[in-house]
């Protein structure tokens, strides 16, 4: 290819190409104006550019679909803010409740890590697990992080597993945390994932949609006969009110993460937005 110095007196093709884009060099401008060969070359470049621009034009509704994809992506294991003094206490708590892990793993059945990336990750990191069922709240200390809660699932929910969880007496499975472990109010993470066990999934979904503020635009990311997954952005206070209403409707919250129904005092509400992922699973 002769990208350089194609003819005596003509600029090389790299210079011509740069000039076609920038128009920065007056000497090249004068030359192109006077040289039909170079003008033809530059015209060719510009016609390619126009074709590329047209072909690479994004679809008009691309941004809507990209935003929907952001909202429907599986949530990471959310983290919470834990005061420094609690780190030492968490270690003690992990030892205290590590026995409960066996029970919880049994409750979840089979090999939960194989089906649940969050649990698998926690296991491979050698983290001590403790899971809370409805109330009381149980902390999950993750190795090497500032602490966190598990998300019970990042995949479509296996309702049989949850049914078994829901029918297990939480008080018997896991002892309540000492009050000293509850800590001061925390700010919610940007992502909250809750699994609720409900009677009728369709009716509950309808009820949930009716309870959302008008400004909220929920997105359904998964629907099966016995479960539905919705995502919606809510302010932290709105979310607390919503989970209170869900509890009042007689649904059972399986996930330990804040906000918990009736536990406003544990939430440091700042008005921030939270992406709330809610799985409704048939009892």
């Amino acid at each position: 290819m002769n990208a350089r110095t194609p003819r005596n007196g003509c600029p090389d093709r790299v210079a011509l190409s740069v000039w076609a884009d920038t128009g920065a060099d007056p000497a090249i401008a004068r030359h192109v104006a006077a040289c039909p060969d170079c003008r033809m070359v530059v015209d060719g470049y510009r016609s390619f550019d126009a074709a590329v621009r047209r072909a690479a034009r994004p679809p008009a509704d691309l941004a809507d679909r990209v935003w929907a994809a952001c909202l429907s992506a599986p949530a990471d294991s959310p983290t919470i803010i834990i005061p420094v003094w609690m780190h030492a206490v968490r270690i003690a708590a992990a030892a205290l409740i590590v026995g409960a892990v066996t029970a919880v793993v049994f409750v979840l059945g089979g090999s939960p890590a194989a089906r649940n990336p969050a649990l698998a990750q926690a296991e491979t990191e050698g983290a001590a697990l403790a899971v809370g069922l409805a109330r009381p709240t149980i902390y999950i200390p993750f190795a090497g992080t500032g602490g966190g809660y598990p998300s019970l699932a990042t995949e479509p929910i296996d309702s049989s597993r949850l049914t078994r969880v829901a029918t297990t007496d939480p008080e018997a499975a896991v002892p309540p945390l000492p009050v000293s472990l509850r800590g001061s109010p925390v700010v919610l993470d940007n992502f909250v994932h809750h699994v609720w066990v409900v009677g009728d999934v369709r009716a509950s979904e309808h009820e949930l949609l009716g309870a959302l503020p008008e400004s909220a635009t929920p997105l359904c990311t998964n629907r099966t006969d016995r479960s539905v997954c919705l995502k919606v952005i809510l302010a932290d206070r709105q979310l607390q009110q919503l989970v209170n209403r869900m509890q009042d409707a007689g649904w059972a919250l399986v996930s330990p993460g804040l906000p918990q129904p009736g536990e406003e005092s544990r939430l440091l509400a700042t008005g921030k937005d939270v992406v709330y992922t809610v799985d409704l699973v048939a009892r």
Binding site: A3, A51, C70, D273
Partner: protein, 195 residues
């Protein structure tokens, strides 16, 4: 939930996101999803793949923006993610087509790219062919046949407001390399199209 009336800078949007205004992220999507798409299109030459990459880019940014330290411009960061994901997808597509196992963790060198060009199958015509005139269709067909390093530079140049400096930054190349690649891409097209 979010203020939609004012024109905020990228840095202001990111600051508000970090303060908990998650919904404001949509402004970044509105602003830049098209750019991510165009970058991916430049590498992949497929609208479907480009959209998939654009979604992946923003899902990843959405998840990690809270940890973005702002050492570089948001756009530079976004271009790099888009380019890396698009190249990974390109390599994945090709390795699948050629039944060759290549780790997705590897970075793509120029030599590897050349080797992959040899392996590349005939790319199907762009699916928007019936929207374009004959000349545009021919240009796109030949652009699809260009070596990816030339194609991506040329396509990035044609994305609004991407200067040579920005392209060099996004591709991690010297300015002169970018000028040369774009010129070579154009010369190659001229030769193939007889313009």
């Amino acid at each position: 939930m979010s203020d939609t009336g004012t024109k905020l800078s990228d840095a202001e949007i990111i600051a508000r996101f970090k303060d908990g205004d998650v919904a404001i992220f949509q402004k970044l999507v509105d602003r830049y999803a098209g750019r991510a798409y165009q970058i991916a299109y430049g590498v992949l030459g497929s609208r479907e793949d480009a959209e998939e990459v654009a979604q992946d880019v923003f899902v990843r940014i959405f998840r990690s923006l809270g940890r973005f330290r702002g050492d570089s411009e948001f756009t530079t960061w976004m271009y790099r993610i888009a380019m890396n994901l698009a190249r990974n997808k390109y390599r994945w597509n090709k390795s699948r087509g050629a039944r060759r196992e290549i780790s997705l963790q590897e970075t793509l060198s120029d030599d590897e790219t050349r080797a992959l060009i040899q392996l590349a199958e005939e790319r199907p015509s762009p699916d928007l062919a019936n929207e374009l005139n004959e000349f545009e269709t021919n240009v796109m067909k030949e652009i699809d046949n260009l070596p990816p390093l030339y194609r991506e530079a040329l396509v990035m140049r044609n994305i609004d407001e991407m200067s040579y400096e920005q392209i060099a930054h996004a591709l991690g190349c010297k300015l002169g390399t970018i000028k040369s690649r774009i010129a070579r891409a154009r010369e190659e097209l001229r030769k193939r199209l007889g313009v």
